[in-house]
Structures are given as C-alpha cells and as structure tokens.
Symmetry: C2
Subunit: 258 residues, 2 copies
C-alpha cells in the first residue's frame, strides 16, 4: 500500500522513525510531518502564517517533507500539494505518551488521523503509553499488524482508529481491547516563574488523571496492560442532549435593526 505517515513529535522524533521502519518493509511510505515538536496542538491548522516545506534529508532514511505547520496541516498539504498520488491510508505516530480520555482533544497525533478520515482515508493514530521508556518496537510492530488487518475491520470512512500500546515487555501485554474514550483528563497545573527581567510567566504542566470508568474505556484498559483501539469520529454533537432541548422555547431577543 501507499501510506502517509505523520506525527506531532516532529519529523526527526524516534517514534516516527520506528513507525517508518516497521511499515517501509512492506509498503510505499511517504513522510509529511512537522519540522518541530507540535505536541498538544490538537486540531490546529495554520491560517495566519505561511507554511514552509523542506524535503527530508537522505540521512533520515525516509522520503518526504518536514513542514512548518501542525499535524493537520501536514495531512492536508500532503494530499493537496505534496504527494503525486493520494495515499491509501494515513498513520500518525508513534506518539511518546498515551493519547487517552479527554486528551484526545489536545492531541496532534489523533487530530492528524482525524484529518485523514475527514479527507476520506482510512486512518490510524498510535501512541506508546509512557513518557520515560521510549522503546517503540512493540508499538511499531502492532501498527504494521493493524495496517494489514484494517480492511477486515470494515471501519467506515470518516472514522479513524486511535491505538495505545502499553510500554510493557511483550509477555505482559494481555491482548487487544476495543474500547470507548474514557473521561481521564489532563489535570493541569501552572508553574509561575520570573524571567531575568523580572516579568512573570507560566509553564503549563500536568498529568493524566482519573481512571474512573471501567475496563471498557481506554485509559483503564491501557493500565491493565491491553492494547486499546477506539474508533474516533468528528461529530461533536451531543445527540441525547439535543433531543432533550430541541423543543425549548429560547426565542429571539428584542433587538432593533440599526
């Protein structure tokens, strides 16, 4: 297959190299990824700045481009401008750090796969459940494994699969679990500092918290030792709430034309 890979840790991050290595054996792989780390950019796209593009150097062992934009920009630009033929699938990752729960909203990795799905392609985002032990080999092997089985799953167009792989030895990975997005979320805190000129600034920090929810949701299942797969869409409507409030009489204010 002809595959497009991207990420949010940047084109020179070890996670994308591991992904490329695992997929390049059996597929034609093109890389279009941010030239610098874009973690937590979510589904940002670049409208107010120009976007620059540099071919990846041969030393990377990868063919493609580094882009001065976000992961979603990379997918759009790849399809509209950079690739001569459209890819058959988009794979985003391997992210250093799980993408579970509410954090899916902040994740450039997940958003790149969502963008691929919006543009009508099968798409996978894949992340490794650790910030400290970056051995991407199992996650990369799982990505290659899932790419081969993707069509059997008959995932509808417009939906991507968000995958998290536990950072465990193979013997401790219990299996694959399809599950819902959990309510786990980044519990943010702000570190207040003073710069050398006496001006205040903040660093945003935080850690993923909250394992409420059962093992049928992503974060608890990942912590139990399962590879998690969540089908992800882009309809934010809360349909149940809509049914409840649909007939409410909000009315219009009294306003004057001017």
């Amino acid at each position: 297959m002809r595959l497009l890979i991207t990420n949010d840790d940047g084109a020179y991050a070890p996670g994308i190299k591991a992904l490329h290595r695992a997929l390049n054996q059996d597929h034609e792989v093109w890389v279009v990824a941010p030239e610098t780390e874009q973690s937590a950019v979510g589904h940002a796209i670049t409208l107010v700045d120009p976007i620059r593009v540099h071919p990846l150097t041969p030393e990377t062992g990868m063919t493609g481009w580094a882009v001065s934009g976000t992961p979603a920009d990379c997918v759009k630009l790849a399809l509209r401008e950079l690739l001569d033929e459209p890819p058959e699938m988009v794979i985003s990752g391997i992210n250093l750090g799980a993408n579970v729960g509410v954090n899916l909203l902040y994740s450039g990795t997940v958003s790149a796969a969502t963008e691929g799905a919006i543009l009508g392609l099968p798409a996978i985002s894949i992340s490794l459940g650790t910030l400290t032990q970056p051995d991407f080999s199992h996650a990369a092997a799982f990505a290659a494994h899932l790419v081969k089985q993707y069509s059997d799953l008959q995932v509808p167009l417009g939906v991507s699969l968000n995958v998290n792989v536990p950072a465990l030895p193979a013997s401790q990975i219990k299996g694959v679990r399809f599950c819902r997005q959990s309510t786990a979320r980044l519990q943010e805190k702000f570190l207040k500092r003073q710069d050398p000129r006496g001006h205040l600034y903040y660093w945003q920090a935080g850690e993923t918290m909250g394992t409420q929810g059962d093992g049928q949701t992503d974060y608890p299942a990942l912590l139990e030792g399962y590879v998690t797969i969540t089908p992800v869409g882009h309809d934010l409507t809360r349909h149940g709430v809509l049914s409840d409030i649909r007939d409410a009489d909000v009315g219009l204010p009294i306003w004057d034309d001017n």
Copy 2:
C-alpha cells in the same frame, strides 16, 4: 453572574468588545483572551512554550488579561491562576465567521467553550455568520439573551452550546433552531508562493463548503436565516462503530522481547 469571556480573534478584536458590552450591563465580566489572533488553533494548549500574561489596559474598558496562548490555555489559566473566584459560566466569542460543521474541530472559539465544559462550567461559544460584515450587535444581544435562559435549558455539565447568528437584519432572522453539527467542511486550498530569497511557501486558504444535510443541521439552518444552537461534547468515540468491531479478532503480532 460572574462570567469569563474569551475568544480566538484576540483580546482586542471587535467581537469580544461587543460581547463584553452586552454582558457587562447585568453581570460581573472577566476577560481572559489571547493577546493575538489564534484562529483555527482548535483545542491546542501550550506545553512547549512559556505563557505570558498582561493585564488589559483601562482603555479597553474591560477587566482581565491578555495571554500569549490559545483559547483553551486562557480558560485553564483563568480558572487555575488568574481569577480569585471561579466564574459561573464561560462565553467564547463573538467569532467573526460561522463555526459550523467539521470546522468545529478547528475552532479556537468552540474549543474554549469545550474547555470550560470539561472543567465543569456551563459554556457557550458564539459566532457571527459572515467574514465581511462585522456588525456584532445582534449576536451580542443574543448572547446576553441566552445567558439568562441557560439554566432553564438544563444542559448537563460537560456539554457546551455552540451558537451561530446569521449576519442579517433582525427582521430577516427567522428564529432559533437547535440542530446537529453538519458535515459542511473547510474546502482547503493552498496558494504556492516564492519569498524574496527564492524559497517556496504556502498559504492555506479555503471556504466552508457543503450544505448536504437537512435544515436540522447547523450550516443549512444558518443559511436559511436561523440562529443555530448545537450542544457540543468531547467524547469522540463512534459508539456504533465500536459495537460493530468490538469482537473483531485483531490479535497481537508475533513480537520478541528485547
């Protein structure tokens, strides 16, 4: 009520001033908004850079802070650091340009309200359906109207309301319609240019396209002349797809521990 207002067009944009003016009469209003335009940043948060904060100057007629971050950063920072007491509601806008369809994902305006909802607050995002005729008065009046009625709607916590107001004379606004997110999306195109040093760069442009879907969805309803209200959440799981693939036997690849 004590209200937090923010936006993605920046603290000095006319839309937030109009919103402030409409709400400040009856409420205690705090502004925490990006210091520069952050359009299309989606749900980005700032983790890899420090965040700076400047009090708004008295000339703005508003009380609060301009922040060197994204709309979602503004909401988090307001709640965690800047406001002495938490607000009772978050209102984001008024955005210049509709936020409908797939564009909700790219919208900093919508993401700020979503962030408020994640943090447990009632929240509204509001946008004006034009890029060229920035008369915010009707949208501002509608925001004030909806704030007063919000509690009657019994919107559950964790859900925000995304509002779009047509850029029409009052006599042509047909009413309020609660509706789903449509499948309308940004049809992006890239303008390829050369800088003075001969290097290529791209501008991302595009327009919202696609009115597929009935008048029970946001973009068609807005074009018909209705104020649209969509309840928005942050669970991206496609539950129907999950049911379909839950028992698929993907299995684990054969991998060696290393």
